[in-house]
Symmetry: D3
Subunit: 246 residues, 6 copies
Amino acid sequence: MTDILRADGRTPDQLRPVTIERGWSAQAEGSALISFGRTKVLCTATFTNGVPRWMAGKGKGWVTAEYSMLPRSTNSRMDRESVKGRIGGRTHEISRLIGRSLRAVVDMKALGENTIVIDCDVLQADGGTRTAAITGAYVALADALEWGRTKKFIGQKAQPLIDSLAAVSVGIIDGVPMLDLEYTEDSRAETDMNVVVTGRGLFVEVQGTAEGAPFDRRELDSLLDLALAGGITLTEFQKKALEVSA
Amino acid sequence: MTDILRADGRTPDQLRPVTIERGWSAQAEGSALISFGRTKVLCTATFTNGVPRWMAGKGKGWVTAEYSMLPRSTNSRMDRESVKGRIGGRTHEISRLIGRSLRAVVDMKALGENTIVIDCDVLQADGGTRTAAITGAYVALADALEWGRTKKFIGQKAQPLIDSLAAVSVGIIDGVPMLDLEYTEDSRAETDMNVVVTGRGLFVEVQGTAEGAPFDRRELDSLLDLALAGGITLTEFQKKALEVSA
Amino acid sequence: MTDILRADGRTPDQLRPVTIERGWSAQAEGSALISFGRTKVLCTATFTNGVPRWMAGKGKGWVTAEYSMLPRSTNSRMDRESVKGRIGGRTHEISRLIGRSLRAVVDMKALGENTIVIDCDVLQADGGTRTAAITGAYVALADALEWGRTKKFIGQKAQPLIDSLAAVSVGIIDGVPMLDLEYTEDSRAETDMNVVVTGRGLFVEVQGTAEGAPFDRRELDSLLDLALAGGITLTEFQKKALEVSA
Amino acid sequence: MTDILRADGRTPDQLRPVTIERGWSAQAEGSALISFGRTKVLCTATFTNGVPRWMAGKGKGWVTAEYSMLPRSTNSRMDRESVKGRIGGRTHEISRLIGRSLRAVVDMKALGENTIVIDCDVLQADGGTRTAAITGAYVALADALEWGRTKKFIGQKAQPLIDSLAAVSVGIIDGVPMLDLEYTEDSRAETDMNVVVTGRGLFVEVQGTAEGAPFDRRELDSLLDLALAGGITLTEFQKKALEVSA
Amino acid sequence: MTDILRADGRTPDQLRPVTIERGWSAQAEGSALISFGRTKVLCTATFTNGVPRWMAGKGKGWVTAEYSMLPRSTNSRMDRESVKGRIGGRTHEISRLIGRSLRAVVDMKALGENTIVIDCDVLQADGGTRTAAITGAYVALADALEWGRTKKFIGQKAQPLIDSLAAVSVGIIDGVPMLDLEYTEDSRAETDMNVVVTGRGLFVEVQGTAEGAPFDRRELDSLLDLALAGGITLTEFQKKALEVSA
Amino acid sequence: MTDILRADGRTPDQLRPVTIERGWSAQAEGSALISFGRTKVLCTATFTNGVPRWMAGKGKGWVTAEYSMLPRSTNSRMDRESVKGRIGGRTHEISRLIGRSLRAVVDMKALGENTIVIDCDVLQADGGTRTAAITGAYVALADALEWGRTKKFIGQKAQPLIDSLAAVSVGIIDGVPMLDLEYTEDSRAETDMNVVVTGRGLFVEVQGTAEGAPFDRRELDSLLDLALAGGITLTEFQKKALEVSA
């Protein structure tokens, strides 16, 4: 299988080059500019002491996320959702996915009554923007939690992070399962799957869609294998980025 | 595993009672009032000759769907999205899921330049509204296609339906994988998965989410087994409903 | 005049078949699925202890209503108001009419600081949806008040219902005054009037509109006669529906 | 009955002072600044050659209206609907009423494929704004039609105006039927009715509402008597205003 | 330069006829109907004791403004912003300009915790609507402050008004700097500038825009000269209007 | 005057460090990531052959711009305008300013029937975002025009760029006129002015606002002097960025 080479020279089970510029933003409590090849997402974390009113008094925190694409992040310009006056279904869906995924690795009791909002703004898009966003969001989140600890909003012994979190896309193209699709691959894929995994190799989200033809159990299994392997590599990149003091 | 009984007396691998009232609407080209236990969804199909302008001239059709809940379909009343002036993320997400799933079993060339809109309105909600909607939508779609053939908008030999389509939810509750969750079960599930399958047993959508704790590969496998079995039973219900002349 | 027969065989002063399925919804505090011929409206009542902030502390309650049509309740599909992002004038107008009418038969002091919202969702439309909605809403309201009494939110001796309430449309077609117009009649009517009456035969709303030609005093009088007679029959149907214990 | 005097010294069957400044706007094809006592409404008519696309090719015209209140036309300031981002139910309802009423006195075939939009902007409000708006709108409409004839958009022999149109409110206060309610009267009325009549004394709209208690047939009759008499007087004011060349 | 005459016979440095009808509105705390030639703007001031929650407890007041044009104030009808569901950029910009300008002459401490909203509604537009609005708004504001003093919401010795405020447009047409442009002049101007000045001859806002060609320092200077002179004359008109007791 | 040093060590007439990363975006027809100190704006230009329908057939092009801030570009997070469902006044105002300014240096006839949209997205904000946006937008525009020439959408001899364009803020702080204010300076300024100038030293926009106290002619003059000098330096930066082949 690894004899097949893709347009950019990658083998089917290879990620695009990954870079994580931690602390890109001078003002956010945590931030990372992450790139998966040409895909670039700026993730910023905003830490607020306190929670929305409907959650107050339960001793628990809240983590949420918003995803958006710059109008010319893509090959042809899209209208701004602010100008259209409404958020599209895809944006909503991805924002919810990111928030839900992050919450799966946060112990809300350990976080205490604090709120973290992660903004994931796609500066350049070439496929895999939601998976890059989740992978970068985790880094921004980790830094924001550290900031909260430094400011004593989070207890010194509290461990709000249960596990690390990364995400990757996989898909079947011309019958071959492939890892980390770029835009032109994504458009041709028969089946497309986004998988969110923890550093310990557990699943947080599995979203597989038959874009072309329905897929069978064996194909599903091979995609999950690829995704788990990709998740391990991404976890390594995150670890390296977080090792350096920000 | 089947020794465990649920609140309503079902075994873990048992569906709720399913009813499909085909042709419920006197005016739509296809319709079905489907119930999964207390969950009731009215699915109507609108067949229009022609396609949106951006698709015209390609000899291909289009199928789309809209999902909505009546404000008091749920236990406590929700504000109407029309009154709020915007559609929520969940509604968007489910509408997109239903449309995408239906398109996976329709041959757009065979459909020709015709458009079918499926409206899925939840009259009463007790968990599994999106899966009931997809299962009922297939019946409404099948009737609308038949209507189109009768009216000669679709060629006599054309076979727009590639396969049948059904959907079911599965989840892990107290460590036990269970089929077709009702609302109280859904709220307690650690992992929640919606699976859309064709009559031939292929996957169209797999959407698994760790609501409580991340899940491992073995748990994922057992959920997929349950869902495939549930899909076979739902397919039988659909066949029976469609056997009778509407 | 009664020698004239309409398309469906009715005499000019005859209602369409009326059915009222009380308690249709398993979760609402009061509900009724009412049909006037092919017109079907699901009315649900939501009882909430307490009133909106601006009304608090006056010892009085509040009753309001929302009307909406399913997109394919009509012969050709309408766009959803939630998708358009705004409520149309007709929807607003009818919601206000229903709420205002219901309030005319409720003693707000006897209701106490409780709020009742009546949702009237048209599942199928064939003329007279607003009058069917009002007639069904009264039944849902009566049950919700009873529920409130059972739950002790309303005092045991309080009599919040001053009178019963029903509504019917009347119109002049080819010079003949007719009761309870179905859609094709409504489209042809020169004059169209919706009349809301109490069980005691008093007027709550009289809304007459010259769709074709202005009408004179004599025509107006004959329409009011018809409407009062129709109101009496509808009141009987409501009584029967409410006699049975829900 | 005429022994009773109102707060401003009027008898129950007396209108407030009425003034009509025809041609108030230098730029509109027709206009009138009308006052009913302190209520002042600026009505402008915009004549456009051609009709909306959905009406084209039928040889018929279209007349529509929009009603709005300035934020400080009332005693306490209201938020602008443009700022709120949505038009309220009351505004919608009155705009529709004005348009529907005007169309009842226009022969759309004689108008030809021309569109007239009447804007009714309330500069100062003291009750009866919708009836003043209709009465003033008729004057603006008449002038716009004359303009269209001068510009040859309307045939020289065409008679688009079938009849003249005026409107007045009536209501029952402390059991006494009264004509042309000002704001403080309107707030106290048990029953409130707006009646739109033609110059020939025919009804175009009758909208009666029980604000306090339901009303009986006899009360309804006395209100209609008052309204018809008021309509005759208003028609005289319109005639005088239109006699002078604009 | 004064040898050149404009279409309406004015010299380049001459204002159009200015009228200020103070107290036009019977219900507002301050009001003025101002005209600059055919441009007519109704300015009303609403005085409210108290400030928005985010300002409370600081002992300071707030002044804000909203600008809007009637749909047929212009030569061809514009759609209403309330109907479009959003406020356009130009409206926003002018509302902000008016509010900001007024605040520059109000001592918020002397105003105390009171809020004044100035509504500027353009009834007829022929260029210079924003400058007429500001000039009229000042008169309405002055009266509203006087009302607040009479009602004792403002201390007897407090002097909330620091200075008076007027505004005028200037522009370069065919190389000639001109004062107070009417619409046809404004459309032809190479450079267009709105200048807000105080009675003492200080600048509050200078907004110059090269509509046609960029302008040099000398042109800028001549425009500022004209504007300062125009401001003096407008200040005289305001003084006269305010001398008379309202 | 130059003895005074600011918080960051600059003299009053000194710009912050300026960097221009031309061609930052891989997909846009022109782009620049510009920084004025900590303020960073990503400017992308989208070139489209053809013009909006209302402009077609006149042989002229169109240039427009949209400005937006990322939610966490600022020190505390702002809600997204897409989530709020409406664009704020400030955003509207700045978008209009950028577009208007750019159009002042483009010969629309030489551009031909082509449209250029410049998106200015603020990634990090520390004062002067609109002036940085204009200065960067010019670079993106220049490259997009060059792209259009290469693609033959613009004639080989056509010279659409009349002049270059840069912008800078100036303000008076504690009585001292200062160039290029950062956020903390901007908040303290008595007078704040944004000036858009061409490479030849002509004014395109002059927008001065008395934030604290009205300003006199002499102060205005000193601010204009500073701005013209700053414009010259920025023009140099642009030249250098554009010299290198992209």
